[in-house]
Symmetry: C2
Subunit: 298 residues, 2 copies
């Protein structure tokens, strides 16, 4: 498979190490990024320089995008020198950004019109996962296209799950963030409550972690939450952005999310109170704010 | 320790097998229940019959209560022939019901005034846990009283955690139910959303279970939720009652619970739509109701 040339757009914290893994696996990788420094580093690692998204798409058999949000992905595809201008019959676009499922469906239609194929393939696993090639990749699109590109995806990720038609990867990522937020806020409300009630928080966590309340947040974040430590991890502002995608998609698909709406508002408060760069478990501080000045857990 | 006589009040689904385990461990157990059939069975198993809560308290060195809710516990303690009328110096009352932490504190004070000691020791682990003696027991009260009664508690439970002063056991149980409900509702909102979006639900669950969204509900309930199967398990009406305790306690302790409040309302809808005897994962059906007639997952 390494005779295929890969275009890679978005050499950020996640994209740069993913492109590096593709180079190390023997692929030719044409990189593009708005700022040039990451492209220089990409070239130093053995990659090629792309002049524009269109140039990258014209030179690549596969084009991977790894970008911050829906508007950026839409712009990079649709602008005059964008990806769509360079797509030809057989081009495969793999969007690994976390964006809206319905925007994804629209973009896939536009790629199809030009004879190309599109997969949505958002990721989880963080910067370490990107460096180690151990990302979890949630894929939406045609089964045959997924299978033809599985080997390529396996260079970047450890778990590749095909979740359904175009948009299903983004839908799955949204589901992930809905459940993560529910846990983060639930554990936060429980810990602030237990602290106000005068219980011993470590004992509370020990007592409930092994049963039906057991979850990743209790196992991996509750100990630091109790200490008032909120170094990221996963930025609260990313959790907020991802919850907005989920809320917007719930609007599009007619799926009410009463509980997720509350989590969304609490993560909004992480932004408004200047805590967007804290870990997503830092939402506990918003619950503390609501409980008043005396309510700090640490 | 089996030279101590145990009074046991509340021989229900949970209480009866717990009392049986105490008998099997060699304790003398005086049983009391409002209806007589469970007491008859208790006597057939080698137990003694108590005539009233007061009688049980007068004859027992330790009195265990395992009752449905705060008002019943308050009545069984405070009425004319209640437990408090029979408490004397050295009596230990262990309330294993799930009730309000602040009611617990009040009752503990009244027991103390009569020279007795009280532990709150709510349980989780269900009917199987009660039968097998493998319950998780969350204990609030004086350290020395907990230690003096640990051997007795270990007859009924596998994990005995001392969580703080009087009320801390109930607080911990409330925390458990807050986190359980957050998971149940979060997974429900995610699954209904994914279904509306046309994703493959089994793949969605597979893709997100291993990461930061991982939790007991995804592992143990999502497969049956996808099939539309909601046999209990743990009754939705009990989840609702326990969330009301948490909300009331949040009121008492000044601890806001915006997300838990939504879960509380959704479990209320389980009652109002006649689904209280479904499993607590059945709250997904309320989300489906909200999404409209076409939105059934199964």
């Amino acid at each position: 498979m390494s005779d295929r040339t890969i275009g890679f757009i978005g050499l950020g914290i996640m994209g740069a190490p993913m492109a590096k893994n593709l180079l190390d696996a023997g692929y030719d990788v044409v990189g593009y990024n708005r700022s040039q420094e990451p492209v220089d580093e990409h070239v130093e690692s053995g990659g090629e320089r792309g002049d524009s998204p269109q140039d990258v798409a014209e030179r690549g058999d596969v084009v991977i995008t790894c970008l911050p949000d829906s508007p950026v992905v839409e712009d990079v595809l649709r602008r005059d020198d964008g990806v769509l201008a360079g797509v030809s019959a057989g081009t495969v676009l793999i969007d690994m950004s976390t964006i809206s499922p319905t925007v994804t469906e629209d973009l896939a239609g536009e790629v199809n019109e030009r004879g190309g194929e599109m997969l949505d393939a958002p990721i989880s696993g963080g910067e370490e996962g990107a460096i180690e090639g151990s990302l979890s990749i949630m894929v939406g699109g045609e089964e045959s296209v997924v299978e033809n590109n599985r080997e390529l995806l396996e260079v970047m990720g450890e778990t590749i799950t095909h979740c359904g038609p175009s948009g299903a990867g983004q839908t799955t990522k949204a589901c992930n963030q809905i459940v993560v937020a529910a846990q983060m806020v639930g554990v936060s409300e429980a810990l602030v409550f237990a602290n106000q009630a005068g219980a011993d928080l470590k004992s509370v966590v020990d007592a409930i972690s092994g049963g039906a309340a057991g979850c990743w947040t209790l196992d991996n974040r509750a100990p630091s939450m109790i200490e008032g430590e909120f170094d990221p991890g996963f930025f609260a502002s990313y959790q907020y952005k991802d919850l907005r995608i989920a809320m917007d998609a719930g609007e599009d698909f007619g799926s009410p999310m009463a509980q997720t709406a509350v989590a969304h508002e609490l993560y909004k408060a992480m932004e408004t109170t200047g805590r967007g760069k804290d870990d997503n478990s830092g939402v506990m501080q918003v619950i503390e704010d609501l409980a008043g000045e005396e309510a700090r857990v640490e």
